[in-house]
């Protein structure tokens, strides 16, 4: 029952739903009773001022924080208490607010690490290398090369990520998340600290990913222009509570949002 949007993208049923999530760190309430859903194939934005609980919500979705109350439903099943890597295996990949790349490895290795959930050859085969292990490695290397081609980072394929400039590191991290070929992609402020040109590139990448790979995207972002253009639906958080939820236009004209977040007389 996917109704196509105007530019031909199919938005499906609910992929992920959080119900009455409450999260506190020793008395400090980060999130109070928040519920919203993310539909298959859409670009869902989560906005709010600093400290509104955006990143905490992302950490709850990616299984890093376990909420005191509330449930997380993923693809129709209630999520049991899981370790973060099990959540990743279910098909959720993410990028981090301040880049969490593996400094000791090259760009290519970082991207290949993104494919860990898909590689299974055991220790014995890896030791021999020639044969099944190498075949698996090459198959995954080809998929990663397509992502490298897609992001246009061929030239830095073999440079250690520690040496890359900020903009490129952000792109490599997006590449690592794409390599996981996840159902749901969580982007934590992908455009923070970028200049105009880099922002335009990143927007095009996000749109292409959603369009060509059909990946559902949950996007945390401050730049209102970007959010309004990119996202199909927006949820607004403020001081750990849900302020508004709807299409960009509905949210922009919602008085509560205007008063709390966009400043009066927007």
């Amino acid at each position: 029952m996917a109704e196509p949007t105007q530019d031909g993208r199919k938005i499906g049923g609910t992929l992920l739903e959080v119900k009455n999530i409450t999260l506190s760190f020793g008395g400090v309430k980060a999130l109070t009773d928040i519920s919203f859903d993310i539909k298959e194939g859409e670009i869902r934005a989560i906005i709010g001022p600093n400290g509104a609980g955006k990143s905490s919500m992302l950490n709850v979705i990616s299984g890093f924080y376990h909420p005191q109350q509330g449930e997380v439903w993923f693809r129709g099943q209630k999520r049991a208490s899981m370790r973060p890597y099990e959540v990743a295996r279910q098909g959720i990949a993410r990028t981090f607010q301040n880049i969490a790349l593996f400094k000791g490895m090259s760009t290519l290795d970082n991207l290949m690490t993104g494919r860990i959930t898909h590689m299974h050859k055991n220790l014995f085969w890896q030791a021999i290398w020639k044969g099944p292990a190498e075949r698996e490695e090459i198959a995954h290397r080809e998929r990663v090369e397509h992502i490298i081609d897609f992001l246009g980072i061929q030239a830095i394929r073999k440079t250690p990520v520690g040496r890359l400039p900020y903009g490129l590191q952000k792109r490599v991290e997006l590449g690592r998340a794409l390599a996981a070929e996840a159902k749901l992609l969580l982007l934590d402020e992908p455009m923070a600290g970028m200049n105009l040109e880099e922002k335009e590139d990143m927007c095009r990448f996000i749109l292409d990913v959603n369009d060509e790979f059909g990946t559902t995207i949950a996007l945390i972002e401050h730049d209102m222009g970007v959010v309004m253009d990119l996202s199909d639906r927006v949820v607004v958080l403020d001081y750990g509570k849900k302020l508004a939820d709807g299409t960009p236009n509905e949210v922009r004209n919602d008085p509560a949002v205007i008063e709390a977040y966009l400043g009066v007389g927007h």
Partner: protein, 647 residues
């Protein structure tokens, strides 16, 4: 060989037999070099040909090729030729309007475009090209939501072809059999210094016979490796990466993208290399700049061994006998400097390198030859399918362009113009009988439009374009190109324009080379914020003055052009740019446009004024128009009394 194949599709069939498993083409993609053998390439081309036939491609139809060097675009050329059609490659970085003129003039019915950027240009000019029916694209990225009925993906067309061949198994083979040497094989549009580009019509004989003669002349084999990075619309690329490749059967390597050409050159290590002089010049400039930043010890070693190379390197390469100690010193230099230098440039495996299109500076030419790189000059033009004169091994000189190519006769007309005749002479200019008659007379002699003369050793020496060769007021010959080339041989001068026709003395505009001069400025901590500011810097003027004096000294000793020494010069405040129409696509000076645009400056040079204000219109990278103003200094240059002939 018995009756030799006289068209490229026939050559393709031969090669698919004799070199079936040898690699014919490679392309750096997804991190490694994807490769196709001659047999695989033939299968891909035949599938495309069938696809084109399925889309209604008739004999005689034109297929335009728009994009950088991609295997699929080279296959497009051969597929069109299989069906008796005519491929029309176009410069990929020309703007939409320039492409519109060429496509409409050639009545191109089909277009193979590389990627979204080129397809967008095609869609933009579609209404003004009624003949254009089908556009086929190679890289589908970004075009998923394009909804146009006559837009096809390359692989879809091939799939269509593989269906088509089921009903008409022999169709393509029959079409290939119909083809013969005299048929038209390709249209090559010249960049044309003045007016609209002209479509040079070349037959199979033109290209194949010239390719065969030149391949035998240089003993090319199927083991050559060539990197194809020059525009496909340029006759040089067509001969080296297509003509000679099909004749000799060697392998063509397409780089990953324009930005990775130097790393791909180093990875492939070609054995047969072609480049215009400006590419060699850039390499030399980067080498000298990087060596300036090296440690003292390394610099001293580098300079010492480069002197050794300058003394003996060229002789060793030419095979002349050199003292034992020199040979020993040179081999030590080879281990320490020359071989590693060639390795970083990607020239370690080069057996033969050609340069043409403009004169190359003597020290640039000798620099590469002293390293043991067999670089040779040739003189040619599109109308001659490239080869007019070539330098045979053993007779290589910096300032001449060699002896007439095999099968080509070269004469000097009474007005000093070089004329030639041979198998490579073009069929005609497409839909332009009048220029064809002007360029090619009834006995088949072609007028090159260049002035030149045969030196004592029988090698041709080119002076300048015949129509640019002017006369000073005192009647002596004024050859602007010859003077400009001498100026451009200095690394810090990028472009120069000389004036003197119907004047008392010679003057010149100078364009500094931002990279070389910028590097000099950094090392001597000379601050500059923009190109314009650096160009106006007095120290830079002194540097230019010193170089022009050197040119004057060498002109003084030249028997024909001794009194065209430069008396006054100025440094332009902006770089001459093809986008402003001041240069052609291959960076040749457009004198008429420059004369109109900078008239006020030229007059200032001749009325002795020290300063001159100028306001020029400029197009920025993204096509916006703007204007920049500047106050330029003009400076006098000491000249030398001509050296009288001793004998």
């Amino acid at each position: 060989m018995d009756h030799q194949s006289d068209t490229f599709p026939k050559l393709l069939n031969d090669n698919a037999q004799r070199f079936a498993s040898r690699v014919a083409m490679r392309e750096k993609d997804y991190g490694i070099w994807q490769s196709w053998t001659w047999a695989q390439m033939r299968e891909e081309i035949v599938a495309l040909a069938n696809g084109l036939a399925a889309l209604g491609f008739q004999r005689g139809d034109k297929l335009a090729i728009v994009g950088s060097n991609r295997p699929r675009l080279y296959w497009g050329i051969c597929a069109a030729q299989c069906l008796g059609g005519i491929p029309v490659p176009v410069y990929q970085d020309s703007v939409a309007d320039e492409m519109q003129y060429v496509l409409e003039h050639a009545e191109a019915k089909f277009v193979i475009a590389e990627d979204q950027e080129q397809v967008d240009k095609m869609l933009e000019i579609q209404e003004r090209c009624p003949n254009m029916h089908h556009i086929i694209y190679d890289d589908p990225r970004g075009m998923r939501s394009y909804r146009h009925d006559h837009l096809h993906d390359f692989t879809e067309v091939q799939a269509l072809g593989r269906e088509f061949v089921k009903e008409h198994p022999e169709y393509v083979n029959q079409e290939i059999a119909k083809g013969q040497g005299s048929d038209i094989s390709i249209f090559l549009y010249t960049s044309g210094t003045t007016g609209k580009p002209k479509g040079v019509v070349m037959t199979y004989d033109n290209i194949i016979m010239t390719a065969r003669n030149s391949a035998n002349f240089d003993k090319l084999t199927q083991y050559e490796e060539v990197l194809s990075y020059l525009p496909m619309a340029w006759v040089g690329d067509h001969i080296f990466s297509y003509g000679q490749a099909y004749v000799a059967g060697f392998c063509i390597n397409c780089p990953e993208s324009e930005s990775t050409i130097s790393t791909d050159l180093r990875e492939i290590g070609p054995t047969y290399y072609f480049a215009p002089p400006r590419v060699f010049e850039n390499i030399l400039t980067t080498v000298t700049i990087r060596m300036h930043d090296a440690g003292k010890l390394k610099q001293r070693m580098y300079n010492y061994f480069m002197d050794v190379a300058r003394k003996t390197g060229v002789k060793i390469l030419n095979g002349e006998s050199v003292g034992f100690s020199d040979k020993l010193l040179y081999s030590l230099g080879n281990v320490l400097v020359y071989a590693p230098l060639k390795n970083t440039m990607g020239f370690s495996r080069i057996r033969l390198a050609y340069t043409a299109g403009e004169a190359i500076g003597p020290e640039i030419f000798d620099f590469f030859r002293s390293l043991g790189i067999n670089i040779k000059q040739l003189y040619g033009q599109t109308e001659a399918a490239v080869f007019i004169t070539m330098q045979p091994d053993g007779q290589i000189f910096a300032d001449t362009v060699g002896v007439p190519a095999p099968g080509v006769d070269v004469k000097i007309a009474e007005n000093g113009e070089v004329i030639y005749r041979g198998p490579g002479v073009f069929h005609s200019y497409y839909k332009n009988e009048q220029s064809t008659r002007e360029t090619k007379n009834t006995e088949g002699w072609v007028f090159t439009g260049d002035a030149g003369y045969f030196a004592e050793n029988g090698h041709l020496k080119i002076i300048d374009r015949i129509k640019d060769v002017g006369r000073f007021n005192d009647g002596s010959m004024f050859a602007p190109k010859y003077i400009e080339n001498k100026l451009k041989f200095f690394p810090h001068i990028k472009e120069a324009v000389a004036f003197g026709h119907e004047r008392d003395y010679c003057t010149a505009f100078i364009n500094i080379d931002l990279e070389a001069v910028g590097n000099w400025a950094e090392r001597n901590n000379v601050p500059y914020a923009s190109y314009q500011e650096l160009a106006g810097n007095p120290q830079v003027y002194q540097m230019m003055l010193k170089s022009i004096e050197e040119v004057n000294r060498s002109l003084a000793s030249d028997k024909l052009l001794s009194n065209s020494q430069i008396h006054r010069f100025l440094i332009l405040h902006k770089e001459l740019d093809p986008d402003d129409g001041e240069l052609t696509r291959t960076r040749k000076v457009r004198r008429r446009i420059i004369a109109e645009k900078y008239g006020v400056l030229i007059d200032a040079l001749y009325n002795g004024s020290k300063q001159c204000f100028i306001r020029t219109e400029v197009t920025f990278e993204d096509g916006r128009k703007g204007a920049i103003e500047a106050n330029l200094h003009l400076m006098d240059v000491p000249t030398f009394t001509p050296v009288k002939e001793a004998a």
